[in-house]
Symmetry: C2
Subunit: 413 residues, 2 copies
């Protein structure tokens, strides 16, 4: 295995690390939770000051005519470049779950007579809850089928069997939040389309980490959050993609911002064309604008280079885990095939929560814990080094061999 | 009429003006659009820097356990103090329109067999669009009845006639966005309850300007925005009030944040008690937190003092308009009875848009224009002085007498 320092020296993305804020008071922090909340781009700090002091404070209502009004589209158009979408197909609004509700309800309404929504148990719980709410609203004959998996790999054979002419919609997380399983976007989309169903992808855990080419694949609908690998800030607004090739869908939550001319203030307004009809209320300006710096950094880095480094980081991590952590009771609970894996790796440990607490409080390593027994280690390629990977594994060894598990077992403070 | 300078000198709220940012490069600006976007509290600038640099940048994912998770409730509990609600009855989430959708759909579902939603044509267009979307989802027998008004005053006799045992929900804007009409919250709520219907108030144009006592009146549900008189920032999240006296309602957009324990990541999670079940996705942390400073300022000022000053400002404005602007072709298009009026006054002028543009660009007065022929002048009591009122009227006279209407007629740049 090559030396981490050599890999870092040769890393074409190494310079991006300095585009992100690193707190000088925690120089040894190794942050491996960018799959949950990405680091802050330095440009975001400057932008936040401008947005609040100069735009809100100084320009007041005039800000709406000086850039705020089209902000969800402007940032959406930038984001489109990361996911293979065209200008006008992506906008920012609401939370991922609300966007998922709108898109799923619209898709089901566009497939009358088809009563099933297909998903799997690797999906994020909120997605399943939302899909069930959509089925409930669609009527008593509608149901959500949650395909069972082994907890790590997507149930691809079950999926192929489940999709038929009763299927209105197939909705899955492109990359699963726990195991990191990465669905074959192209193959699943084709399966759904062969059966006459629509597809709605949740890109939360893949966007900014895995190359995505929505239009090349022919994806109908997609949603995703902007606060993980896109580094948009805590709870930043979600994005929604609606293929321009789809016939017009109906937003189930019509509101003024989704009408053709909101500022006409008409009750019987025409719906906006394309993705904009899925807007409902006014966008959160500050949170929306703060998404742009992180998206720009990924566009500058290029998704192919991002993906190459992501695979190299996670492959190295798994190799080190096999050698050093499996003997200590850890198990890899992510797909071994990097083509079927996103940018985080999940490890089982019977005392996963205690290990995580010890890592955070004793060793300045931040992974995250998913109950009951998983630790996720996320490798955001723009600011994670190969040395970080080695060091994180070494500190995990130190925690376990040094009794950290016992010190941190029990309720979390 | 007393001298404006004397009133300002005696104004117990005068000092609050300095709690808000005023751009030194526009010392003559008279901002009368706080009913659309409130000014920035100085505390918000400091808080934004803390949120972005220290919390997001420095604390990273740990921020969720250090205050972000309960932020929608914490700010909601503060806001409850402005509207006569109890702790645990108010939370911040989504946009006003999305909150309205959730609350209205839940209310209609709680009144099976009743097929009508009653509103009026003074309501904000997005509200009517949302209510129609709710009716559409509820089934083909459901409808929204939009009562016609004279454009200024609420159609109270029609309302009394319309509410009957087919009424599932009465949903109105407490203060109308155009005319400033202020419904009698108590009387309308009582009317709805007598007929067995639920009430859902939109408080966008009243919260922070008009005293509201939701629990004393027995209101079931309410929503509102936080960026007008609450000064929460552009597009800041909405709030939702659910009376703790209501039986459990069902959020039509169930998501993880509305479950009893989101961090358990369960598909079959119990719904959270109370208002929290109406949450869906993760809250926009930065935008949510920035709502608190403006709410705190209003709590410090006290809503009774705010209302007293609001009435004094708008009464003075109307008196001056009658004397100086009516002879120039303006008409007051707001209720004359201050008990039935919020904190803004609408003026008709055949060239309202040109007058507005001239005021903004030649006279540093910012009202807002509502097509086709209204200018709204909003009096946010915390930062508007009596001298501002006099000066705004004088500058409007100057615009009209000085030919500003002709200079600014035509398409808006």
């Amino acid at each position: 295995m090559p030396d981490a320092a050599d890999l870092d020296a040769a890393d074409p993305l190494a310079g991006f690390r300095y585009e992100f804020f690193h707190d000088a008071s925690e120089p040894n922090l190794i942050y491996l939770d960018g799959n949950s909340l990405g680091r802050m781009p330095r440009r975001a700090a400057d932008l936040a000051a401008d947005l609040v002091n100069d735009q809100w404070g100084g320009r007041l209502i005039r800000g709406w005519n000086e850039g705020w009004f089209d902000l969800p589209n402007r940032v959406g158009d930038r984001l489109a470049g990361l996911v293979g979408a065209s200008a006008g197909e992506v906008m920012l609004a609401d939370s991922t779950s609300v966007c998922l509700y709108k898109a799923a309800a619209a898709a089901v309404a566009a497939r009358p007579g088809r009563t099933r929504i297909i998903t799997d148990d690797l999906n994020f719980p909120s997605d399943v809850q939302v899909l069930r709410a959509v089925a409930r609203a669609a009527g008593p004959d509608h149901e959500v089928v949650v395909l069972g998996s082994d907890g790590v790999h997507g149930p691809d054979e079950l999926l192929a069997d489940a999709i038929d002419d009763t299927t209105a919609l197939v909705s899955l997380s492109h990359v699963a939040y726990r195991s990191g399983w990465c669905w074959d976007l192209d193959a699943v989309t084709a399966l759904a389309h062969q059966a006459g169903a629509l597809v709605l992808w949740d890109l939360c855990h893949s966007v900014g980490a895995v190359p995505i080419d929505l239009n090349a694949v022919g994806v109908d609908l997609a949603v995703g959050c902007t606060y993980k690998y896109l580094n948009g800030g805590p709870g930043s607004p979600a994005f929604l993609f609606v293929s321009s090739g789809l016939p017009d869908l109906v937003n189930p939550i019509d509101g003024w911002y989704g009408s053709d001319d909101p500022m006409a203030f008409e009750f019987d307004a025409e719906r906006a064309p394309g993705v904009n009809r899925f807007m409902t209320g006014s966008p959160p300006v500050v949170s929306t604008a703060l998404v742009e710096p992180g998206v720009d950094l990924l566009l500058e880095a290029g998704m192919d280079r991002v993906r190459d480094k992501s695979v190299a980081l996670s492959e190295r991590f798994i190799t080190l885990v096999d050698a050093r952590l499996v003997p200590l009771g850890f198990e890899v609970r992510s797909p071994r095939d990097h083509q079927r894996r996103g940018s985080h790796v999940s490890l089982f440990h019977p005392d996963a929560q205690a290990v995580g607490q010890a890592l955070i409080h004793e060793e300045s390593v931040i992974p995250d814990f998913r109950p009951p027994d998983l630790l996720r280690f996320g490798f955001a390629p723009l600011y994670t080094s190969f040395s970080d990977v080695d060091e994180a594994v070494s500190r995990t060894v130190r925690v376990v061999e040094g009794g950290g598990v016992d010190r941190w077992r029990g309720p979390v403070a």
